[in-house]
């Protein structure tokens, strides 16, 4: 957080407007980045932050507006122009090629050659050098697909630094890191600043913004909603700017009144697609009327765990009991018939058939049961009636129930899934990453629905990588680390610090470790 004798703008963006068919992603946006500063670009999902940065990086061409780099007017017709001006970008979704090595990923597009052939030896040397200089160590010969998420992020940074970027755009970099890795990351960031870089930091995490920003710009609905000074702003004021109204931080939640056990898991073991044991001795009991939240960084077995519980993945050991019946070997259909609802982590892959209409998606879990089908023949009338009812009840914004589901926004797609799963007699809800990538309005709505389900007497098994979500919804929290629960807390005893430590290291913190 240093300002070097008076701010010198390195990047100025003026009046940028970018539209896509049907939506104005950015409207008349101004932004100034000064030398050596960390400038946070804040906004909720869908506000236009990534679009703006893609314009700056040359991936998109703006409809109107201008840009200046170090006082000189520039026009980027493609990414190469931006790179030539010293701009580098680390995208929210990593742009890496898993089957290539680190070295190949780094030099791709700007390859080092000796004669006609690639000079991997030189690439290795440079990567090691950059790694030492900026504290970003990776093995140049490792296949990127085998790396951890944190390591992959380092590769992305090295890619940008390899091309001698001075202006770095980091899009939601901490979304996939453990709290501990986040600290390391900010260390790297400070190092970069110290070495003369300037950084634009896109995020929706208010806590981090206040921790690192020198200046803050807030986008809302494609426009600049305001700028803020971190020394005077609070999470509340920032949130209000982001959303445009007063935001309620804590979801209202009457206290839980748990009943008898609905889900009992003992010593579950599950492998992933490659045969690696991802769930390794997982045990839990979830009762009626309570929300059990599983906290943990992605990659500790969450996906395999939920898929196994839903009957979608083979279990190599342990037992699962649902409502008294042994569900260990049951098919997804049988488990659904027990009264289990499942909101999958990847809505496009598992939750919806994109080309199908909303109506068909609404009954995807019950398509073969009366009244939607009798004796193998489907009945369009009841399907449409149900879809219409649910669309209204769950406030799904759509022109009609016959449009393909893939045309809906992420938030509305998730609402379709939630509507479908939360209808009927739900005894147990398995839900993973329910609000990933959604806007604040949808997030509030879905959280309310989950709590309402709990209050109606269902048991809820929630898995989320967003610690805030876990803490806001859960009655009890278990931390998942390397495939098993390493610590359980009632909500009253859970603090971010305790959970963060557990998530990162797998063991309980001693008193001194926790701030």
């Amino acid at each position: 957080m240093t300002v070097v004798d008076g701010p010198t703008p390195v990047l100025e963006v003026h009046g940028i407007t970018k539209t896509f068919p049907g939506v104005i992603a950015n409207e008349d946006v101004d932004l100034v980045l000064n030398q050596g500063e960390i400038h946070c670009l804040l906004g909720e999902n869908g506000a236009g932050k990534s679009t703006l940065m893609n314009v700056v990086f040359g991936l998109y061409q703006p409809d109107h507006g201008s840009m200046k780099v170090r006082g000189r007017e520039v026009v980027f017709s493609d990414v190469n122009d931006a790179i030539a001006e010293g701009i580098g970008m680390v995208h929210q979704h990593f742009q890496l090629i898993p089957v290539f090595t680190v070295a190949e990923n780094v030099i791709l597009g700007d390859e080092l050659t000796k004669g006609a052939l690639l000079d991997i030896a030189e690439a290795r040397r440079r990567i090691r050098e950059l790694g030492d200089r900026y504290g970003l160590r990776v093995d140049p010969d490792a296949k990127v697909g085998d790396l951890s998420v944190g390591e992959q992020q380092r590769v992305e940074l090295i890619k940008a630094l390899f091309r001698e970027a001075d202006i770095l755009i980091l899009d939601e970099p901490t979304a996939v890191l453990t709290p501990g890795e986040v600290d390391d990351f900010f260390e790297v960031v400070r190092n970069l600043i110290a070495q003369g870089k300037s950084i634009i930091f896109i995020t929706h995490k208010l806590r981090e913004v206040l921790a690192v920003a020198d200046r803050i710009t807030v986008l809302r609905g494609g426009k600049v909603a305001g700028t803020a000074d971190p020394s005077s702003a609070t999470q509340q004021t920032l949130a209000n700017l982001m959303v445009g109204r007063d935001v309620v931080f804590q979801v209202e939640k009457p206290p839980a009144t748990p009943g008898d056990t609905v889900l009992r898991v003992r010593d579950l073991r599950v492998e992933d697609d490659r045969g690696v044991l991802m769930v390794n001795g997982f045990s839990v009991e979830v009762r009626r009327g309570e929300i059990y939240g599983v906290a943990g960084v992605e990659g500790n077995g969450q996906r395999e765990l939920v898929e196994a519980l839903a009957g979608m993945r083979h279990k190599v050991g342990g037992t699962v009991e649902i409502l008294g019946s042994d569900a260990t070997k049951m098919t997804p259909r049988k488990i659904t018939e027990l009264g289990v609802a499942h909101i999958p982590e990847d809505r496009n892959k598992h939750g919806l058939v994109g080309s199908y209409s909303i109506a068909d998606n609404m009954v995807l879990n019950r398509y073969n049961r009366p009244p939607f089908a009798r004796r193998g023949i489907r009945a369009a009338g009841p399907i449409d009636a149900e879809a219409t009812r649910l669309v209204e009840e769950f406030d799904v914004r759509t022109p009609g129930i016959h449009v393909p589901a893939e045309t809906l926004s992420g938030g509305n797609q998730q609402k379709v899934i939630v509507a479908r799963e939360l209808t009927g007699d739900v005894q147990l809800l398995l839900v993973a990453q329910p609000t990933r990538g959604l806007d604040v309005g949808s997030i509030e709505f879905i959280h309310k629905q989950i709590i309402a389900l709990r209050d109606a007497g269902a048991a809820v098994f929630l898995v989320s990588a967003e610690l805030d979500e876990i803490m806001s919804l859960s009655d009890r929290i278990g931390v998942l680390y390397r495939g098993r629960i390493v610590g359980t807390y009632d909500i009253a005893d859970a603090t971010r610090e305790r959970l963060g430590y557990l998530m990162a290291t797998g063991s309980e913190p001693d008193a001194e470790d926790v701030a």
Binding site: M312, P332, G354, S355, Y356, L364, N365, G376
Partner: protein
Amino acid sequence: MTNGDTPQQNGSGGRASFDVIAWIKSWWNLQPILVPLYALLLSFVVGGVLIALIGVNPFEAYWALLRGAFGSPERLAGTIARSVPYVGSALALAFAFRAGLFNIGAEGQLLAGGITAAWVGTWSFMFDLPGILAVPIILLAGFVGGAMWGGIPGVLRARTGAHEVITTIMLNSIALFMSRWLVNSTDPLILRDTTASVPRTELISPTARLGELADSQPPLHLGVFVMIILCVVVWFVLARTTFGFETITVGSNPHAAHYAGISVSKIIILAMLFSGGFAGLAAASEVAGTSGFFQPGTFAFIGFDGIAIALLARANPIAILPAAFLWGALLKGAPLMQQEADVSIDVVRIIQSMVLLFVAADAIVRYLFRMKGDGGHHIATTSTSWGST
């Protein structure tokens, strides 16, 4: 899968006709019909250029083609008869396609079905059965034969992930050689009719023959109704039943299908079984209707063309009927074109490939004919990769 495009404006014509056309267009979206028609037109143009290049008047050639296909009631009947087996082989691909599978093994499945039907048709008890039993039996035999041959790649795909494009192609060749052996072999004598002058199987029971409707070239028989009914049934299954829903779901998003409780492996195997069965059924109807026996080489290219027809029809069972009819017309008319205008029948194949091209790349048609917008329903391109689900 759903229609619902807004009407298109397409300015044309004089005053009176303009009003009528615009009025029709405001009620009924003509695009799904216009695009293929224009595509057909363009294809004829391309063919015409080639014909002109070899020094023949294209109009003369096409006139002969047209007369060859439609010039008389017998010829028309022959055209319909010609189309019949293509319907079956196109259905084979179309149904599998809906499940996300590329069954290009209709060639082999036709052979398997045809030879099974011809064999069962010669069983002794068949000669005593009345037609009302014998015909369904022989058709069923063909279905089963084709289904078995289609089932093999299905099982392999479901159990080992082996891509069906490769396995079905291999099985095509294997079926070709095996059927040749079964029919040609004299030592040991397997299926060969020793009294015949050409290598073929024995004649099936007369009671198992499908009745002839017209003495055309080839003869039009009841098989045409079998195929039409089959198309309707397949359409109904896909559009209205839970099994059809499951099949299409697997083809659109196998992950979501699994999540919805559908057994993806089961659907893959069933889809290939039915798919092969449809081809086998078509072959059986040919054996029972046209020839009364099986001869190696009878079904050459029917499977291969079936692929194009199915793609042309965008895997829609009802649309397969006109598409197959087009194919039948082109193939029936070609010999007359060759005879009268001295143009090789291969021109027809070129036209066929162009029709497929222009229908698939309909943007070209739209551009040339100044049509707006995107008709939308392109074939679901889910299983577009080899190692995919």
